[in-house]
Amino acid sequence: MTALPRKVEAGTATDVADIVIAGGGVGKTFGGGAVVALEDASFNIPKGSFVSLVGPSGCGKSTLLRLIAGLIERSSGSLTVHGREVSGPHADVGMMFQRATLLDWRTAVENVLLPTEIHRKPTAEDRSRAVELLKMVGLKDFVFSFPSQLSGGMQQRVALARLLQTGADILLLDEPFGALDEFTRERLNLELMRIVAEVGATTLFVTHNIGEAIFLADKVMVMTPRPGRLARMVDVPFARPRRPELQQTPEFNALVAEVRDILGTH
């Protein structure tokens, strides 16, 4: 374990071989240095862990995800995924964007099948999985609807189904449930946890809901407002599998308060 600057705990002591995503002083500026979106972020994310990322609006969360996905180039620092420097989009990473970015000319199920199509001709199995995923996100009746026929939350759910269809072992989710009501959100949280556990995927999850962040994660990464920095990595000690009731326990609420405190003081 390398020493990490800026008080960010590196999480539990894990074998270096088990670190899937590692950032060392990652920075990103836009407009030729005019806007510092992310500064000096160092972190290690172990294999199979679920990390939530919280922070004020505009602090660089989406930017960090896009850096990890290799969609934009960092301005400074080092960033490795599976031990290899990130230099462009790479396999094994699935990303769900803040905006649903569905393709207008494809029905819901065809949108979900897209990641598969990118890699091979979809089999009957792929298809049935796609339909299953849509059912799971509660869109049983909208399998063949086009995006413009869906509500905002429904579009987000299609995008989630599409992410899960990738079968990637690193999942990056950018506010996936922003447009969902509490109940749907809760259900999908559980489903997401289940699937992630099943696959053993490493997950980075951006959310503004601190309760959700804690409920889902092994660790919560807290970011400061602009210029975006990692303020703290908070360990979540609760055992898995977790039940919704967990959220009513005092320990849980204490942790929520702690994270809120960290956010509030920065």
Binding site: L71, I72, E73, G88
Partner: protein
């Protein structure tokens, strides 16, 4: 311009970063490479002409054309006036045609009823070869400038029309609802939303129009004129002086190319929001302007 650049975010990531310094070496500066390709093409052509593979009556040798151009522009200087006349017709006709095309698209695009009623006539007009209706226009407007400009206008109004219309009809739906909720009138929806949203497509239409304006001017001059590049071209072709004819043709081509490229550059400026670096500059400029006019 849309055509010749890719999207903002893609450029953000220098995927071509490692493309090797070989191509970027000074010797392979784009202009040098362009020139090399050009030279090879011209060389092949010259050889073709010299060896008789290409009939000089069909396509004269580059050297002969160069000589002819020297004569046209420098020693004899008889091309200048004709060129000026044609440029005048092209610019006037293009301006009129773009205004007509875009204007018609606005009327038709903002009003579905008018669209239904007018569109067939617009298409009929477009589908009727100008070379065939040109004489009718001359008959109506006489042999002077106005008929030529009208012909050019009719030749080049269609691309801006179709492109503006298709841009307007495929406007971003969310933004359209926003405008409707603000109770913007049709004209505002058009000027503040549709026009800008469709701008890349409209610019493409205008470039197409520019190219056809040249052909249009030539068609008009072929039909009837006593001055202009078409006349010169006709004279040279009729006397089988193909080197000079091609000199004229190349002049027109160069003219067209220059105008086209200028329009492309202007288009890039207009559609600045598709280009990250330009966006920063515009942002700064607007800030400065704001502070100048309305304080901090």
């Amino acid at each position: 311009m849309v055509v010749l650049t890719s999207s903002t975010r893609e450029q953000d990531h220098g995927t071509r970063r490692g493309a090797g310094s070989f191509f970027h070496a000074a010797a392979f500066h784009p202009i040098v490479r362009h020139f090399a390709i050009f030279a090879v093409l011209i060389g092949a052509w010259e050889i073709g002409a010299r060896t008789g593979t290409i009939d000089p009556l069909v396509l004269p040798a580059p050297s002969a054309i160069a000589e002819a151009m020297w004569r046209l522009f420098v020693t004899q200087r008889n091309i200048w006036w004709h060129l000026l006349v044609t440029i005048g017709e092209v610019l006037a006709g293009f301006t009129a045609g773009s205004i007509l095309g875009i204007g018609l698209a606005i009327v038709v695009g903002l009003n579905p009823m008018v669209r239904k009623l007018l569109k067939p006539y617009v298409i009929v007009l477009e589908a009727t070869p100008r070379i065939a209706i040109g004489p009718l226009i001359i008959a109506a407007l006489g042999f002077g400038w106005s008929s030529k400009i009208t012909i050019v206008m009719l030749v080049c109004f269609f691309a801006p029309f179709i492109n503006t219309l298709s841009g307007m009809l495929s406007v971003n739906e969310g933004a359209y609802e926003l405008f409707r909720s603000l109770r913007a009138n049709k004209w505002q929806i058009f000027t503040k939303l549709m026009l800008l949203d469709a701008m890349p497509v409209i610019m493409a239409g205008l470039r197409l129009a520019m190219a056809s304006a040249l052909s249009g001017a030539l068609v008009a001059e072929f039909i009837s004129a006593s001055e202009g590049m078409g006349v010169l071209l006709k004279r040279y072709t009729a006397s089988l002086n193909m080197a000079s004819a091609f000199g004229c043709l190349l002049t027109l081509t160069a003219l067209g190319f220059a105008i086209y490229r200028t329009m492309e550059a202007v288009g890039n400026r207009i559609v600045f929001w598709r280009h990250a670096p330009q966006m920063d500059a515009v942002s700064r400029r607007r800030q400065a302007q704001w502070q100048r006019n309305w304080g901090a």
